[in-house]
Symmetry: C2
Subunit: 565 residues, 2 copies
Amino acid sequence: MLEKGSWLMDLIAKHKARFDAARKACRERFHWSPFPEAPALVENSEALGKAADETFAGQLNKAFELELPGIVDTVGDEISPYTGKPLGITYPRCNPDVLFDAAERALPAWAALTPELRVAILMDVIDALEKQVFLIARAVMHTAGQSPNMSFTGSGVNALDRAIEALVYAYEAMRFTPNTAHWERQFGKATISLGKTYRLVPRGTAVCFACASFPTWNAWPSMMASLATGNPVIVKPHPGSVLPMALTVRCFRDVLAAHGQSPDLVTLQLDTRDEPLGKVLVNHPKTAIIDFTGSAQFGSWVEQNAHPALCFTETAGVNTVVLDSCEDLDAVIRSLATTLCMFSAQMCTSPQNIYLPRQGVREGDRWVPAGEVRQRLADAVYAIASNPRKAAMILATIQSPDTEQLLDQLAAQADVLLPSESYEHPDYPDARTRTPLMLSVNTSQRDLYLGERFGPVSFVIECEDAQDALSQATRDVREVGGLTAFLYSSDEAFIEQAEQAYANAGAQLTINLTGPMPLNFAAAYSDFHVTGLNAAGNASLTELGFVAQRFRITQSRRPSSNMPR
Amino acid sequence: MLEKGSWLMDLIAKHKARFDAARKACRERFHWSPFPEAPALVENSEALGKAADETFAGQLNKAFELELPGIVDTVGDEISPYTGKPLGITYPRCNPDVLFDAAERALPAWAALTPELRVAILMDVIDALEKQVFLIARAVMHTAGQSPNMSFTGSGVNALDRAIEALVYAYEAMRFTPNTAHWERQFGKATISLGKTYRLVPRGTAVCFACASFPTWNAWPSMMASLATGNPVIVKPHPGSVLPMALTVRCFRDVLAAHGQSPDLVTLQLDTRDEPLGKVLVNHPKTAIIDFTGSAQFGSWVEQNAHPALCFTETAGVNTVVLDSCEDLDAVIRSLATTLCMFSAQMCTSPQNIYLPRQGVREGDRWVPAGEVRQRLADAVYAIASNPRKAAMILATIQSPDTEQLLDQLAAQADVLLPSESYEHPDYPDARTRTPLMLSVNTSQRDLYLGERFGPVSFVIECEDAQDALSQATRDVREVGGLTAFLYSSDEAFIEQAEQAYANAGAQLTINLTGPMPLNFAAAYSDFHVTGLNAAGNASLTELGFVAQRFRITQSRRPSSNMPR
């Protein structure tokens, strides 16, 4: 009925192998990706990178070309953390009511497609996003402030993988119910035979809030989850990081339109810091679904005020490190230091609170005193921060000037283990940079570290012993939330205890990991991001609970003898 | 690790065939049930019925034996709609805080079991409930007022089927994620190889509100959905229908204890009409999940106030009938009349609003005038209501005295097509009975029929034509909710239009059904109950969205080389 032409079948066939592979990866959760893991592995990467640089440069100080319904005026006040200069790009600002109306009009035809077709069209969007991944990386770099490499990997291909993962889960949830069923039962002496048809009905318009420092990473999977299940999406980027989402929205709209779908299935709602629209969108009577990535404070308001809309949040909390014992402290410290430095800890998965037993850390069968552990950790961070090439690659830049202020305030309130300074970026002399601040505290200073302190700051917290460290850490996570956790211990009984304690607290635990993988690396198809068990978010990307409520099932049933031929 | 003894393996094996069959039925949605469909089909049904009568009689005017933590005093003011006399059963009333604390203590050991084991123990509960199904039917009869037959079928075996269905969905959702995974990826020249463990963590204590007129039917699947996913359940029955849920809770507790589990995984919280505890339970800081079946008014309050608890509601709305055309009007009218009479329309699926075109209904190629359709429908209802044997079997009794008042009020406000009177029950002369009230209205009297009017009342609403009938009906559903809908039409284009309109409105549609099956019969494993798309409830029993958020997934990951042997 719906698959009218062969191009639709071709479209499904085109993406089948990749999508099937993704489905298998999600079920078994091994490593898989159809994308190159680093820009250097892309064919013609230099040419593509240069072309992206040119396109990006050509976009500066211009109006961003994006057709949208209900345009009221234009806004735009992004500043590159690399150049310190305004991007000068202006974007259309729309009347939200018009966007909701347009989304509502676009919904029925999109909802009438089969899940296979919607997914195939969205897999075409994935292809289109991949073609622009160098350009999107430049946009992320000059808004979020990520390094060129992370912009490509984390905000590009890894985000694409997570988008496919969301499509897989949406598809599995939709396909759990058959299209039709034959049902037959005796009632007394009569046989009642019914044909049943099940329809998947989308909830309605979704609003997707993207954050400033890592916009595509949660927004792409959230958008895909809503769209695959038939819901239009209004994207609300952070005013400081519009360009990556504007490129995203344009890409979705182009592909949708090319396939004869209404581009208004995906629109962009901008606001400004002075005239924020977040609450208007959350309270809008036509908002049916909200995906929110951002601050814990506003996220909590969203959760409390979302009803009757469905609400999926990913905010922040304290990501904790518990140090007990290890075989090779140097390896531990190298891994920890690198991860503390990674994108200046402006990731929701970055560790912040390091719980260190007063007695120190046992390495093999000798104790390394706490003071020495602290110092070697600070030295290792300093080794990165003091080398501009390394710093540029790993620390990158600081997204928001607020972060600089926060670092200065915190430094005044505790023993400074490593001061934060700006470093000179080798390629961008005007870049906003800060080296990591490390503070040495004890548990009486809990107010200082209880909660996310956004940016390159970590607290080394003196604890009674390993048990106390674990219990402090998991208590802090239970109280204010936390996404990731890291444990180093050679004691199997202690590890088992920590696994259970962190499971109860709802943080995803990484144990005894050393080596070149960033400790907080979250692998699509394999690692669940956020548990929904604590204040750091009520959703988990991506599992069935993230998708199953985005559509509903209606049915009609009818005597088989009365069915149309 | 968890399957310590062979009895556990045996328990899983014992239930495997039945559970696998239920899984297949849920995926394909054909008719299936392991239970006899009527009491007469049970072996020794007469002896079992008599034994249940004796047990029930022996229970009257006594304290109900049920051990619970935190008992404060006893309450109980049930009145049998059949005898008009108090049951005289007193039940322990507990301190809610003590129940929540007991549930919290019971959770960890239950959560530590594998999903297979929890499901197997709960399948044992199903067996135990089945053994008591005649007794539970007596309890339903003398609290909810259902007929003996419906008490056995609807509140007994069909509710058991729905409980199994909920177990299946919970199991499928839990088993979508593997216990472990092996993940391996290159980072530069190094290979990082991680072993990952995924844990399913229950949300916390669930509160299950059961309704007065059909307590087991939604409560059993809700309880199973929470328990299978690891959450304890506090059951809060309606003060008027305690006994079915008290028997239920005792049965769960006995089976849990027999398998070495804490019986406090399932407890009973009573309240009284004068001192209701509903809001206390919804607002309790330890409430993690709420399942609510009951009035639309309190249900709406629950939805608005449940945060941060998960909330699944099934309330009420207007169930609509649209009459356009048919081949055999007598058959249509027989089916409609029987369904309007069934349990005096005290079911959330009972039709209430009949939208009748002014021109009448086309039968074959002749038009039957609206006045004649109204009259024949009223006559058909009267034929049932005026025959005490039939009335006793089909109408049964009226659960609440409030319903009688409502009927009298409504009768004074519109043209009475069929007046409501009490009928003399052949076996219970003091039974609270009322024959169905039928009112003839037009759309200017919308206030009268816009919303559920609980009890045996229907409105025949004069509409312009079939298009107007459909548009009025679906508009009413969109505005105030609705669970079921019924359409009679010989026009395929109109049927298709109605299917889409009701899908958008979120009511489950039955088309052109005649014959002995009650029109509103909802088959476990096949029919979805409630869509979640309108005000008649935000949940749907049973699909993945009903279960997937009741647990969360946490993970730990660790270098494969560092895994314990």
